[in-house]
């Protein structure tokens, strides 16, 4: 095969049923889709029949890196795992789980851009990749084990440097709410059950190669340094969380939490994060002291260090040593970030308050159980559903009396972190009605237990649609947030917009930057929203296209886009073309930001086409792009656009849909892509495919 820059040039195709392994040319087949989700959608469109269900043998798993993965492009460590997704309800549709860690980079070093998994093994296997040596190995001895033991066992078989992405008992037992986890703590949600349905316990990779870069060494080094110079802290927050002499601005919500007197307290000796000036790149890794951000000040003395993914200088992954959790039957060591610590939200309260030490213990106990059984939080919806069901008597009403009695509810009421063993074990093994119901994920749980209408209309339930919660919606970004939350089949997993809105800069500066990128009307004052306008639609589209771009290149959408920077000398502007600079330097394929956004639009449109095809309707507008009632109806006694509230107006959101569809050239009546829109993106075959089944507008 030819040699390429960025891409290794090879995609692995593994038929588990036949036990066959084949090699395909990545660039010839998938270059127009970059990698990651782009390859995933393309394979599903070309090869998986409409209306395939997630656990059908015909479903395929596309585990894909991208041209930037494994390079030293900052934060180029993500991997996208695309399939017909088990938690989408009522009909299973395309979606992607995303994982960080070193796994994607290792795949590239082994010489592969992506793996297409098809068929079903007749006995448990794991896929072992050591450079060009690829084989399916017996996994009978691993089946039934948690992720920690399976990962350790495979590393003993293949070498300690092996990167292992494995499922736990939840995935094996076809729990819809299951993950795959690599490096013990980097998980991709929702796809664990698809692995299980195929009899695939793990994919283990060891590589000794490198990723070729088109740019010369100096140009590449200069570019990396430039991009790093634009970085803030996690989520591209560009001001510190506390007033610091060097900083013109600060924001208490910022993840740039480093300050004098804040320590990685369990390091030996303790390490002070100190003040990390924006111009001091060598201290960038101290900026984000995430344990205290996620878990409160009680986490400081238990923080060993901050970890993270390949080529990431930000380190958002807190590594903790909490000896007191051993009494709950889990390891004292734990690592995670954000909702990975969310198990504490199963509880209404703890004896020492919501952010007390018991809360930290619950977070660690829950994290360790979830990432060993391989259970997905669904962006916290598992915990919200549990609370809703418990508080409204739905658990008691739906469980047989003996099963309900077998659960030690007094430990739950007491805020005992050890209670989490009951929850996670029952879900992982689908024990009883409790385990079977929660294993199904939010949509099917609500249907199975006949959650009342109030669940869907209650803002605190978090429910958005199709079995998934809101993810940075109207509360933060008004109509733009609503549009972004409409578009996917799972929660939107988009941070482009929320990163910018939360970056900590004064609104005046945000608006100045926003005016250049999307137009003067794109941003509103916090909690003081105005009516829809075309700039808000542009903001939403930018956010979505960049998310799709990041999941395909791959880059971390928790850092990019770099719309803002921490530098007064740049008027706090970042570089909206950073991704294009990196892509061009790595691949040698010269593209500016607009050209790369067009590729992202192709990928985004293909996702839409897949959704149209598999739902069997063009009517995305009313049947897919839905908004929960609480967005419009809560609180009952205030009008939309009242300062202090994010309440939206139904007619105004209709206008938002019109403006958004128009930007993409989609049919306004249905929200489906038109032939012209698809052909503009080089998707003539997709247009013809939709036309053949009567799902192309016009």
């Amino acid at each position: 095969m030819a040699e390429y820059y960025g891409w290794t040039g090879k995609t692995l195709r593994v038929d588990l049923g036949a036990g066959s392994i084949a090699t395909e040319d990545t660039v010839a087949r998938y270059r127009d889709y970059l990698g990651g989700t782009g390859i995933g959608y393309k394979v599903l469109w070309d090869e998986v029949p409409a209306k395939t269900k997630s656990f059908d043998e015909a479903n395929k798993l596309i585990v894909a890196a991208g041209p930037l993965t494994g390079t030293s492009a900052p934060c180029g460590g993500r991997t996208s795992v695309t399939a017909i997704f088990p938690t989408v309800s009522p009909r299973e549709l395309v979606a992607t789980g995303h994982m960080g860690g070193e796994w994607g980079a290792e795949l590239k070093y082994a010489g592969w851009d992506a793996i297409i998994i098809e068929g079903r093994a007749n006995k448990p296997v794991y896929l072992a990749i050591i450079d060009d040596q690829v084989e399916l190995r017996d996994a009978a001895h691993l089946w039934g084990n948690g992720i920690l033991r399976a990962t350790s066992a495979i590393c003993q078989e293949m070498g300690p440097e092996t990167q292992v992405a494995a499922i736990g008992q939840a995935g094996e037992n076809l729990v819809r709410l299951a993950t795959i986890v690599n490096s013990y703590s980097h998980s991709a949600g929702g796809v664990g059950g698809v692995f299980g349905s195929k009899g695939l316990k793990a994919i283990a990779v060891r590589g000794s190669g490198a990723v070729r870069i088109a740019a010369d060494k100096k140009a590449w080094r200069d570019l990396i340094r430039y991009v790093l110079s634009l970085f803030g802290a996690n989520n591209q927050h560009v001001v510190p969380s506390t007033p610091q002499p060097w900083a013109e601005f600060s924001s208490p919500g910022s993840r740039w939490t480093a300050r004098k007197g804040l320590y990685w307290g369990a390091a030996d000796p303790p390490v002070e994060t100190g003040e990390c000036r924006a111009d001091d790149l060598n201290r960038m890794a101290y900026r984000t002291a995430k344990a205290t951000y996620d878990l409160g000040p009680n986490a400081e003395p238990f923080t060993v260090r901050m970890g993270g993914c390949h080529s990431c200088p930000i380190r958002c992954h807190a590594h903790l040593d909490v000896p007191s959790v051993e009494k709950h039957g889990v390891s004292r060591y734990s690592a995670s970030t954000c909702v990975g610590w969310g198990a504490r939200n199963f509880f209404r309260s703890f004896p020492d308050g919501r952010r007390g030490m018991t809360s930290v213990e619950a977070a660690v106990v829950g994290r360790n159980l979830a990432d060993d059984f391989g259970i997905w939080t669904n962006y916290g919806q598992l915990q919200r559903d549990f609370r809703y069901a418990y508080d409204n008597g739905l658990i008691q009403a739906n469980l047989p009396a003996a099963e309900y009695k077998s659960i030690p509810w007094e430990r739950y009421e007491a805020g005992d972190p050890g209670f989490l063993q009951e929850i996670y074990r029952r879900i992982a093994f689908k024990e009883g009605e409790f385990g079977q119901a929660f294993a199904e994920g939010s949509g099917r749980l609500a249907e199975r237990w006949k959650f009342p209408d109030g669940y869907y209309k209650d803002r605190s339930s978090g429910w958005w649609k199709m079995g998934h919660p809101q993810h940075h919606a109207a509360d933060e970004a008004g109509q733009s947030g609503v549009l972004i939350n409409m578009m996917y089949n799972r929660d939107c997993q988009c941070h482009s917009h929320s990163n910018f809105i939360r970056n900590g800069l004064p609104l005046r500066i945000q608006k100045e930057i926003g005016a250049k990128l999307w137009g003067a009307g794109a941003l509103d004052e916090g909690d003081n929203f105005t009516r829809m306008n075309p700039d808000k639609a542009r903001f939403a589209l930018w956010a979505l296209l960049r998310k799709e771009l990041h999941d395909s290149l791959t880059l971390c959408n928790w850092m990019y886009p770099l719309a803002a920077s921490p530098h007064r000398s740049r008027s706090y502007e970042g570089d909206n073309g950073a991704e294009a600079l990196l892509y061009t330097a790595v691949t040698g394929d010269k593209k500016d930001a607009a050209q790369l956004d067009l590729v992202a639009e192709r990928i985004f449109a293909l996702h839409r086409a897949l959704t149209v095809r598999d739902m069997g309707t063009m009517d995305m507008r009313s049947r897919h792009d839905t908004v929960p009632d609480w967005v419009f109806d809560h609180p009952a006694d205030v009008q939309p656009f009242t300062p202090g509230h994010s309440k939206m107006d139904r007619q105004d959101i209709e206008v938002a849909r019109d403006m958004f569809y128009e930007l993409l050239g989609w049919d306004k009546k249905t929200g489906a892509p038109t032939r012209a829109a698809l052909e503009r993106l080089g998707l003539e075959d997709v247009a013809s495919g939709l036309a053949r089944i009567g799902l192309l507008p016009g």
Partner: protein, 163 residues
């Protein structure tokens, strides 16, 4: 250490320097003396001139530090709250006043808030409490109560519950 270096050192540590503590002649003479040190700038609090280095300290921080150095803590808190309500805009967590550049104790903050809420000159300063119990101050000149409440809830709880 000469005066510019002393100012730089203080700025690095988050402190402003009172001119009259390092210079016993006129302000004009001082500025003539340090005209070659482009990073040395001044902020004024009443009649008092404070010095800082722009290489190590932002002007906004220097202004706050000068207010605190003047000893009028209630004024320093009220002005910071007004500034944040106008600039970002957002309410200010009371917790902020425990750290740099304020370094106030719980007792000092409580005492200052009592003065603020009883002083007609700070009638625009209001407070809201988030559901986790944390207290925020805001200026009614720039935020209304509902906005302040909702922003406080997001900062104290929402950002952590919906990361």
């Amino acid at each position: 250490m000469d005066i510019p270096d002393l100012i730089r050192q203080a700025s690095r540590e988050g402190q402003v320097v009172r001119l009259d503590e390092v210079w016993n002649r006129t302000e004009e003479e001082f500025h003539a003396q340090i005209s070659g040190h482009k990073d040395i700038d001044r902020v004024r609090q009443g009649e008092v001139c404070y010095l800082y280095s722009t290489d190590f300290m932002a002007r906004r921080y220097a202004e706050t530090a000068a207010r605190i150095s003047s000893g009028d803590i209630p004024l320093a808190i009220a002005e910071t709250v007004r500034s944040e309500s106008a600039t970002y805009p957002r309410p200010t967590p009371v917790e902020t006043f425990k750290g740099k550049p304020f370094h106030l104790s719980d007792e000092q903050i409580a005492s200052a808030m009592e003065i603020i809420f009883g002083d007609p000159r700070s009638a625009d300063i209001g407070s809201v409490r988030a559901s986790d119990g944390s207290v925020f101050l805001y200026s009614t000149d720039h935020l209304n109560a509902a906005q302040a409440q909702s922003m406080a809830e997001r900062i104290a709880v929402g950002l952590h519950e919906s990361p």
